[in-house]
């Protein structure tokens, strides 16, 4: 772009703001269809059981009940890869709460009454909750190959880790643990299904309507064009609404059986134990360095509780492999099957926990070699252009600048020596850095320019609250050369928008953002072609700006975008596809977090006094959108550090705190002063230099806070969350 940017980088009003503040934004459960029935699921209370017999006859006979389903009534195919072996309805339960039957009735009360009338005879089986317990030969074996998924640990190596430790002057080694947690969007998962002439329309609270459509088509044996999935407004994602869920297909099948629309919304408790969770994990970290600050070896052994069906979430290990240029490295991962909720996609996945472990170890290593932890980090971090594992190259990195500007802001130089303070309340400062690969996805976008100069943008990516609808409209306006107000955007409807794999993995900006830019550029080329003839100017000498097409050298020689579109057939269509998969360069977001905390040694309470979050976001298309992502992620990260933990009753294998009071998500009172620093070096892969920033914010607060607690007290927390109970035990 030769011109200055007019829309990108500006804090325009959200394109959907009015709907959002007036209550008119219709989320899935707000869709009201005539004759819609209410669905409810009968959930098994046991963590491991076989259904010996089930009798639904009384439920079926209850007036007002329109459909009842049991496992025999539905396809036996597995649901979707993200759910492993999980069935939509099952007669073999490995997770308390799995559904064994479902009903649809004319009122919620009748549906609830019907569930009570279903008689189930269970054979209860022994169960196991802890991953380490599950690895013992005496534990109930949940897979043919045993509870260790794949039968052996996954091992990733670089160089020779034993040689690396032999070269080190100092070695630190410790174990860190992180709890079971859940993303817990405020909108529980919800679905409304309607069949008409063999076609299914599904309003679905989904981060990926296209993935859901594909999976549903496979499951039902229908072509994709007979399934329409609409996810216009989604009340938060955090991984929870990735993929197709059991309730989605059950609701669709109930609607088919009843011949009426059916709606379903998870209860809060259901959503907390049956959505994807962040599995409990332990990290055994060993790190070695020379006195000059060269990290010579890093070894991380991860034991990950994958739950009853989860399988894929433990890949990665980028906090171990991707932050520092460590020549000798070994990451060993044990993924363990248990009778607990399914480890699946969740914001940041395992990285907040792994970052807590690795960045605590780096802090400890710095102390061991008597080096400022900030200096140790700067010496070892990856730089843009660095070769990475797998033969790819890092596209860009602003981490060095993040560290330096963040340190300056918090006053790192004034940090007090560790454990030097007297008095009950002690103040400490700590830091952590983090990274994440974003956007290895595919997306297509379509831009339609109308003869009045207005523009429709069609893009499949769901705005789950990230502001992507606004950001994508800005990219289209900027690239096309029209005003932001001229753009109208339609998203996340598999029938009216082109494919976008989904809103996750810090990927929308890189995939959909780039697709929108390409589509707008395509439309711009066509408009210029159409304008060249009437203006008698060669296409290469024309530019589009502010809704007009004019000659670079003779700006008064112009026609409007609308006039050009009219000449080209009243509609100009531009399309673009971005394949951000398997590329030789990889875009990663980076962040450096600095926390100042006060530890009350009388009560064990930790108060975050300040948190500086310096983020390399490539370029912020909309500063407030990006700040919102970072601030929200930081607060969620603080909650992982201090309060959030799903707790099991070991005697029964049931969760104890599946509500918002006992599972302590942050309130507005948990908001410390957060200072966001945007570092914008630009990235070659993304639209206008942007890269993903959705997950790095949640990854670093725990480590930064833990390191600050150590600085304050001289005691190192190695277990999350850092509740008063744990802190009092530590001190």
């Amino acid at each position: 772009m030769a011109q200055e940017l007019t829309v990108v980088g500006k804090a325009v009003a959200g394109i959907d703001a009015t709907e959002r503040v007036t209550g008119r934004a219709a989320y899935t459960a707000d869709i009201q269809l005539p004759r819609a029935l209410y669905a409810k699921m009968l959930r098994c209370p046991h963590p491991h059981a076989r259904v010996k017999a089930i009798d639904v006859s009384k439920a079926q006979a209850l007036p007002g009940v329109k459909a009842v389903l049991t496992p025999r009534d539905i396809p036996s195919a597995p649901l979707a890869p993200a759910h492993g072996s999980r069935r939509a309805l099952t007669d073999y339960v490995t997770l308390a709460g799995e559904a064994v039957a479902a009903v649809a009735a004319v009122t919620p009360e009748i549906a609830a009454e019907a569930l009570k009338l279903i008689q189930v005879d269970y054979e209860t089986l022994p169960f196991v909750i802890d991953a380490e317990e599950a690895l013992k030969p005496t534990a109930p074996q949940l897979e043919k190959e045993g509870n260790l998924i794949g039968g052996r640990p996954k091992i990733f190596t670089r160089g020779d880790v034993e040689k690396g430790f032999a070269e080190a002057d100092k070695i630190v080694e410790a174990n860190y643990t992180t709890p079971l947690g859940t993303g817990n969007p405020l909108e529980p998962r919800a679905v409304t299904a309607q069949w008409s002439q063999g076609r299914l329309t599904l309003w679905l609270a989904s981060q990926g309507p296209f993935l859901a459509q594909q999976e549903l088509a496979k499951y039902l044996g229908l072509p994709e064009n007979r399934i329409r999935v609409i996810s216009t407004y989604v009340g938060g994602g955090f991984g929870h609404k990735y993929s197709l869920h059991p309730e989605d297909v059950v609701t669709a099948l109930l609607a088919r059986k009843a011949g009426q629309p059916v709606k379903f919304q998870m209860t809060r408790a259901e959503d907390m134990y049956l959505g994807h969770v962040r599995g409990a994990a332990s990290f055994h970290v060993k790190a070695g360095a020379k006195r000059d600050g060269a990290i010579t070896a890093l070894s991380v052994r991860r034991i990950v509780n994958q739950g009853a069906h989860g399988a894929s979430a433990a890949d990665g290990g980028i906090q171990s492999t991707g932050l520092y240029n460590v020549p000798n490295l070994r990451v060993e991962t044990l993924q363990v099957r248990t009778n607990t909720p399914d480890y699946g996609p969740v914001r940041g996945v395992m990285d907040p926990g792994e970052n807590f472990a690795v960045e605590s170890a780096i802090d400890e290593l710095a102390e061991a070699i008597e080096m400022n932890p900030l200096v140790l980090r700067i010496k070892n971090i990856h730089k843009g252009g660095d070769p990475l594992d797998g033969g790819v190259t890092l596209s860009s990195s602003g981490l060095d600048e993040c560290i330096r500007t963040g340190a300056d802001r918090i006053g790192w130089g004034r940090r007090k020596p560790t454990g030097a303070q007297t008095g009950a309340k002690k103040i400490g400062v700590g830091m952590a850095v983090t990274t994440r690969t974003g956007g290895s996805d595919t997306a297509t976008a379509i831009v339609k320019v109308n003869a009045d100069g207005s523009v429709n943008l069609f893009c499949g990516a769901t705005d789950i609250g990230t502001g992507s609808r606004t950001t994508l409209a800005q990219i289209a306006a900027e690239e096309l050369g029209v005003r932001y107000e001229d753009i109208s955007i339609t998203t996340s409807d598999t029938e009216t928008t082109p494919y976008s794999r989904g809103s996750w993995g810090s990927g929308v900006i890189l995939a959909a953002g780039k697709a929108v830019q390409l589509a707008a550029a395509d439309a711009r080329r066509k408009l210029i072609q159409a304008a060249a003839q009437p203006l008698q100017v060669k296409p290469e000498d024309l530019v589009v700006a502010n809704g007009a097409i004019f000659a670079k050298e003779l700006p008064e020689k112009k026609i409007t975008v609308g006039q050009a579109a009219a000449r080209a057939g009243y509609t100009v269509i531009g399309s673009g596809t971005a394949h951000q998969t398997n590329r030789p360069t990889v875009a990663r977001g980076f962040a450096a977090h600095f926390a100042e905390v006060e530890v009350d040694t009388d009560t064990g309470q930790i108060r975050v006094l300040r948190l500086i979050a310096a983020h390399d976001v490539g370029r912020a298309i909309h500063p407030k959108v990006v700040e919102n992502q970072i601030e929200g992620g930081v607060i969620q990260g603080i909650a992982l550090a201090l309060t959030e933990e799903l707790i099991f009753n070991r005697a029964t294998g049931r969760l104890l705190n599946t509500n918002f009071v006992d599972f302590k998500v942050p309130t507005i009172k948990e908001t410390p002063p957060i200072e966001v620093i945007l570092v914008e070096p630009g990235d070659p892969l993304g639209a206008f230099g942007a890269k993903g920033s959705g997950e790095t914010p949640i990854q670093a607060p725990a480590a930064a806070i833990a390191n600050a607690v150590y600085n304050a007290t001289g005691k190192r927390p190695r277990e999350l969350p850092m509740t008063p109970r744990r802190i009092l035990a530590l001190l």
Partner: protein, 321 residues
């Protein structure tokens, strides 16, 4: 939720009859009861609302006694001018309860009579309190359970108001089919060893109608402190309300009440004895703090509450010194 009839009697006499003859369940703000009904813990066939009975909402000071109608909401109490000026401990405790939405609806009487938040009681566990054979907290996950007065059930009483009111020396007026009585708040609560199924002395048909708080003398000082894991909508890990009347630096009268540590709001009598007649020096405060937890018997995961209680009592006394 099961279906139920709903009645709004205009007089207490009618209410007694509905409660005793029709086995009705008393309801005020309903914030606690509705939760229990939604969770299937109770399934009353009749709700008896006190909404239309006049005189149960008034708050007034009379002959050096503050009289709070049981149906006054926590929000009303929190924003009342007299309370803010003369009985600020109560406003401080009220502010710490739940959220603005619940305080606008929940009543003072309901807060004193609320059922425990124990996750076994609220969850799908047939525990002792619900007529089962086991207290799951005994050998289970008990980090939020009692260190004092527990057994055979180990709940902690959830009320912040009770802690504050007890420290102010409040009593409650209870009326029932067989007349009325006024009892000191500390005699209003029942330990599980006495009756595991209830937390108060209220019998069938009896209604808590009023709370009476004696006006504190000008020399009185007080403090309320609640430690919890989250800044709002969270119950106390430990809370303390301390009240002391001091003359010439000597403690004449002291009440130290603990929340979050026992099945009832817990008067730390040993700690009170340790400060009475003394000047609040560092040594006296440490002794009193230790005395507050002398009788503590921790479960497997709540030993931290002992240290927390000790430190909070010491901090509270330091505020009064």
């Amino acid at each position: 939720m099961e279906g139920f009839a709903y009645s709004q009697p205009g007089t207490l006499r009618e209410a007694f009859s509905l409660l005793t003859n029709k086995k009705g369940k008393l309801v005020a703000g309903a914030t606690d009861l509705l939760g229990e009904m939604q969770d299937g813990i109770v399934a009353p066939g009749l709700l008896v609302s006190l909404e239309r009975i006049s005189g149960l909402k008034t708050m007034r000071e009379e002959k050096n006694v503050l009289r709070i109608g049981a149906l006054a909401t926590l929000a009303e109490l929190e924003s009342d001018k007299i309370i803010a000026e003369q009985y600020s401990l109560l406003a401080a405790a009220a502010r710490e309860v739940a959220t603005p939405q619940l305080r606008a609806q929940a009543t003072v009487g309901g807060n004193l009579c609320q059922r425990p938040r124990c996750w076994y009681y609220r969850g799908d566990f047939n525990c002792l309190k619900k007529g089962g054979a086991v207290c799951y907290a005994q050998d289970g996950e008990n980090q939020y359970h009692a260190i004092l007065g527990g057994g055979p059930c180990h709940i902690v009483h959830p009320s912040d108001m009770a802690v504050g009111l007890m420290a102010m020396g409040a009593s409650v007026r209870v009326v029932g089919p067989r007349g009325e009585k006024t009892v000191p708040l500390e005699k209003f609560y029942v330990l599980p060893q006495v009756d595991v199924k209830r937390e108060t002395i209220l019998g069938p048909g009896e209604i808590l109608v009023e709370i009476r708080v004696p006006k504190p003398p000008p020399e009185a000082r007080w403090v309320f402190r609640k430690v919890r894991e989250r800044g709002a909508w969270d119950f106390a890990l430990v809370s303390v309300a301390a009240y002391a009347v001091t003359k010439d630096k000597i403690i004449q009268e002291a009440r130290i009440v603990l929340g979050g540590v026992a099945p009832i709001p817990w008067r730390a009598v040993r700690a009170e004895q340790a400060v009475k007649g003394k000047t609040l020096t560092g040594a006296v405060m440490r002794l009193a703090a230790e005395a507050a937890v002398t009788d503590a018997r921790p479960l497997s995961r709540n030993e931290y509450k002992i240290r927390l209680t000790r430190n909070l009592v010491r901090q509270a006394l330091a505020t009064l010194a």
